[in-house]
């Protein structure tokens, strides 16, 4: 039984991850019409969630101690300014990431 443990652990983790993603489809997905309120919510939710995900990425950055989140702030500014200017996703993300790697490895190391 002990050797089955890792298999079962992965199966349980997989099932539970899938379950969280499945919830809205089970509640609203059936054959019946999706309520208007949910349709509206679905349209306006992405902007709010993407904003939340940015905070999620920064949640462990300390802005009051250490380097005060300087590498993150600088790299986000580089990404955002490049994107507003050139509007080329790969360029913005590539330069932002290289800039961040340089900052954490050499400047704020």
């Amino acid at each position: 039984m002990k050797s089955m443990y890792p298999f079962l652990a992965i199966a349980v983790a997989a099932a539970c991850t899938f379950a969280t993603r499945l919830i809205p489809f089970v509640i609203f997905g059936g054959k019946k019409e999706v309520p208007d309120a949910v349709n509206k919510l679905g349209k306006i939710l992405p902007a709010a969630i993407i904003a939340t995900l940015i905070i999620y990425c920064l949640k462990d950055v300390s802005f009051v101690s250490g380097n005060h989140g300087a590498p993150e702030i600088i790299a986000i500014l580089v990404t955002a300014i490049l994107h507003i200017w050139k509007r080329n996703s790969l360029l913005s993300i590539g330069c932002g990431t290289v800039c961040y790697m340089f900052l954490v490895q050499h400047v704020f190391a």
Binding site: A14, P24, G42, A51, I55, P71
Partner: protein
């Protein structure tokens, strides 16, 4: 199909870099915990969730009971329960891939799909969405295998490459900002996140934050939709 995958590859390229790094880090964690490349491969294939897999490694190592694994996995991935709300109708365009699309709805795939405007051709729309989701999954698997096999031999210093994920969200954030007239959802999202980080701490903030966000958006949804549709009419 080739053209569609090419298009999807271009869209998902930022995820390629982010996932190769993130997933190879997890592959290495599995390896160090005594689980070789086969384990990393199957965990990546079936669990397919960054924070979920990191949690799984640590729980495996300490031999946590299955019920604990179930409970903590549900908790850490609870944010995903909100992602499907935007795709209940649209995923039907993917036809047979519908269940796979739900399974593969990670943070990054969700963001990429949000950044792909819905096409009038439903069949093509479904294919592009599937190609993007599938490619992301492939990158994830490649990362898991590479990390497990090469993790300890790579000499290049990759520290900080995971910022690609943050940069991806920043770019999609700007695109979203430009395409909607009402910025209230953004302010609600940021506001409730910051309040919840200070109230619940950085590791527990996202679920309460999303619940508050959804509640507030439910209250203001009509106002926001009217303002956004005003913009659409101006554009057309």
């Amino acid at each position: 199909m080739k053209v569609i995958f090419k298009k999807a590859f271009k869209k998902t390229m930022p995820v390629l870099f982010g996932y190769l790094f993130l997933s190879s880090a997890i592959g290495l964690l599995f390896y160090n915990a005594g689980y070789n490349v086969i384990w990393a491969f199957f965990a990546g294939l079936f669990v397919y969730a960054g924070s979920g897999e990191m949690l799984l490694v640590s729980l495996l190592t300490c031999g946590a009971p299955l019920a604990t694994i179930a409970f903590l996995t549900l908790l850490i991935n609870s944010r995903h329960a909100f992602y499907g709300l935007s795709f209940i109708e649209r995923f039907k365009n993917t036809k047979k891939a519908y269940p796979y699309m739900i399974f593969a709805l990670t943070d990054e795939t969700y963001s990429i799909l949000c950044s792909i405007p819905e096409r009038n051709n439903k069949d093509e729309d479904g294919k592009v969405m599937f190609a993007a989701a599938f490619l992301d999954h492939v990158y994830w698997m490649c990362g898991a295998v590479l990390g497990s096999l090469l993790g300890q031999t790579l000499s290049f210093n990759w520290t900080g490459v995971d910022f690609a994920m943050t940069a991806l969200f920043v770019v999609i954030f700007i695109e979203q900002w430009k395409s909607f007239k009402s910025h209230l959802p953004v302010f609600i999202g940021i506001g409730s996140s910051i309040v919840c980080v200070s109230a619940f701490g950085s590791s527990n903030f996202i679920l309460p934050s999303l619940i508050i966000t959804v509640s507030l958006l439910m209250i203001f949804k009509n106002k926001i939709c009217i303002k956004n549709e005003g913009k659409l009419q101006e554009a057309s």
